[in-house]
């Protein structure tokens, strides 16, 4: 699928003390593309996300989003440009009701621009969003304290929080980790739906099976370096990847 370039990462690099977390990584992401990022633990996936979203300042390289270099910009600026992310360890406001969690992104200037948030309306919007995520509006779930919700719900709440920004690029950092099979099964279609609606998505995942079902392209990191990039089939057939994932054989469905 040929679309205009949305995000262009050029030999990005970052090290913490001695550890080279990300080394000279480059890739191009087209509009409407669904990119999966995989790699063994500690291969720098999360750091890559932090670099793109501005939570960590890169030592070298550029991140070009819609033609402008956003490397080293503040996280809120980047988010304001439409790059929204979820966290591997969900960051939520546990002492707020679930739906109130969405008020924070909804009251950002970006959303104001896109949606014109008049007072009082936001609560309804929040509840709608949660309804889409599977928090039935008429149950008590959306109004419960976030802290009292089970882990699966929190993950989806985090996703809802990310979506509340009306992002152009959604980055999912191991969304499925710790989710029950059934929850994954119910969440995956949501994400596919977003994609079909034209949202560009980067998905970092350990559950290769689910990942490969939805992504167009996969991109493998190992020790902070890109070792493969391409369609799931070709990627998994390359030697390097086989070595990296020693012993894991994946059937591609």
């Amino acid at each position: 699928m040929e679309g205009e370039t949305l995000l262009k990462v050029e030999n990005l690099g970052k090290h913490f003390g001695g550890v080279q977390a990300v080394f000279n990584v480059s890739f191009v992401l087209r509009k409407g593309e669904f990119l999966g990022v995989i790699g063994p633990n500690g291969s720098g996936k999360t750091t890559l996300v932090n670099l793109i979203t501005g939570f960590v300042k890169p030592d070298s390289g550029r991140v070009i989003y819609r033609g402008e270099n956003i490397a080293g910009k503040k996280p809120y600026t980047i988010a304001g440009l439409g790059i929204s992310r979820t966290f591997q360890m969900v960051r939520l406001f546990y002492n707020l009701p679930a739906y109130k969690n969405l008020i924070i992104p909804l009251s950002s200037s970006r959303v104001k621009k896109l949606r014109g948030g008049k007072y009082g309306e936001r609560d309804d919007v929040a509840v709608d969003l949660l309804d889409d995520m599977g928090f039935e509006r008429d149950s008590f779930v959306p109004y419960k304290l976030a802290g009292s919700l089970p882990h699966g719900y929190l993950k989806r709440l985090d996703l809802a929080r990310a979506m509340a920004l009306r992002p152009d690029l959604l980055i999912l950092d191991e969304l499925f980790s710790g989710m029950a099979m059934s929850e994954v099964a119910s969440t995956l279609p949501l994400i596919e739906k977003f994609h079909e609606e034209g949202l560009t998505i980067i998905m970092i995942e350990h559950r290769l099976k689910e990942l490969f079902r939805v992504v167009d392209r996969v991109f493998v990191l190992n020790f902070g370096e890109k070792i493969a990039d391409g369609s799931p089939q070709e990627v998994m057939s390359t030697e390097a990847v086989k070595k990296a994932y020693l012993g894991i054989e994946v059937e591609i469905g």
Partner: protein
């Protein structure tokens, strides 16, 4: 009751008036309306009546309580977005000097100086402290602690703004009633505006910044700008308090930056329960009259605040307001065991 206690036990229940969220109520009767209004109406009425009852010195004390109350409120507003100040006297002093200068050199009346001090004070505070906002942890507290003390020394040594002699014989309030009701009024208004704002989306964001600034940033919200706004609001309120005292005593001197104006609000907030505004307000209404009754002790009073402060931080972190609130919303009944 002993034999009752044998076969019954106490059971605490929340009054079932709240539906779903905190903001949504299911009101069934006048009784419940009263139940909701009483805790809000009662203090207001009391505060409005007190100036008429109190004679002589205790009228002054009421005014002073309100001033400290304002400082405590401004402290709590800052704290609500994670900015922990040890120097409310900075805001107090800035306001006092803005008003004092205008009144001394241009003989402007409070009608002008108070609003100017309110806005100007907020502005100055925000500009002065905005660099610190980028830092985490104790930095903000440290800087806010030193700033006023350094300002005090600076005015003393350089002789600027009247130096150690201060500016005196400033324009007073027309009469005592104006002063009293101005203080009480400002106090009530600020209290209710703050309580309202903090439950709005705006306040929600502020509290979110306190809880987890990264998550807020990932929601495309410029936390530094929000913090600066909070700084402005808090500074403005503190400055108003200072300006008021300036006119009330027709004098402003370097000691408006003194530690007392930082400790009192802090102690009041810790005692009443930070994060609720009602708590700090309540706290100052207790602490100031208390300290006046103990004036004979001289310097010991300050020490006493400190003990109260320590005690409430260690023993009752939630503050007395939360406690009262909880008690108000719960009722106990005896239920038969088994």
């Amino acid at each position: 009751m002993a034999e009752v206690g044998a076969r019954y036990r106490k059971k605490r229940l929340d009054r079932g008036i709240k539906a779903r969220a905190d903001t949504i109520f299911a009101i069934a009767s006048y009784k419940e309306i009263l139940y909701l209004l009483l805790p809000r109406a009662l203090p207001v009425i009391t505060l409005l009546v007190l100036p008429l009852l109190l004679r002589g010195y205790w009228g002054k004390v009421l005014v002073y309580s309100c001033i400290v109350g304002l400082l405590a409120l401004s402290w709590d507003f800052l704290a609500s977005c994670g900015l922990f100040s040890l120097g409310q006297s900075l805001f107090f002093g800035i306001g006092a000097y803005v008003a004092g200068t205008l009144s001394y050199y241009f003989h402007w009346s409070p009608v002008l100086t108070l609003p100017i001090a309110f806005l100007g004070g907020g502005l100055i505070s925000a500009v002065l402290l905005s660099p610190v906002l980028r830092l985490r942890g104790v930095y903000f507290a440290m800087v806010t602690l030193m700033m006023p003390l350094l300002f005090m020394k600076m005015i003393e040594t350089t002789g600027l703004l009247g130096g150690s002699h201060g500016l005196s014989a400033l324009v007073p309030f027309p009469n005592d009633w104006v002063a009293r009701y101005l203080a009480v009024g400002a106090f009530i208004i600020v209290l209710f505006i703050f309580r309202r704002v903090i439950n709005e989306d705006y306040g929600l964001v502020l509290k979110a910044i306190r809880d987890d600034d990264r998550a807020v940033m990932s929601a495309a919200i410029n936390i530094y700008w929000r913090k600066t706004q909070a700084l402005f609001v808090s500074g403005a309120v503190g400055a108003f308090a200072g300006a008021f005292m300036t006119h009330h005593y027709q004098f402003v001197g370097m000691t408006v930056f003194a530690l007392d104006y930082s400790i009192l609000p802090l102690a009041a907030s810790a005692l009443g329960g930070p994060g609720t505004f009602a708590g700090p307000a309540l706290g100052s209404m207790i602490l100031v009259p208390l300290s006046e009754t103990l004036r004979a002790l001289g310097g010991l009073r300050i020490a006493l605040y400190c003990f109260i402060l320590i005690l409430s931080v260690i023993a009752l972190p939630e503050g007395i307001f939360h406690y009262i609130e909880r008690k108000y919303h719960q009722f106990e009944k005896l239920v038969r065991i088994g």
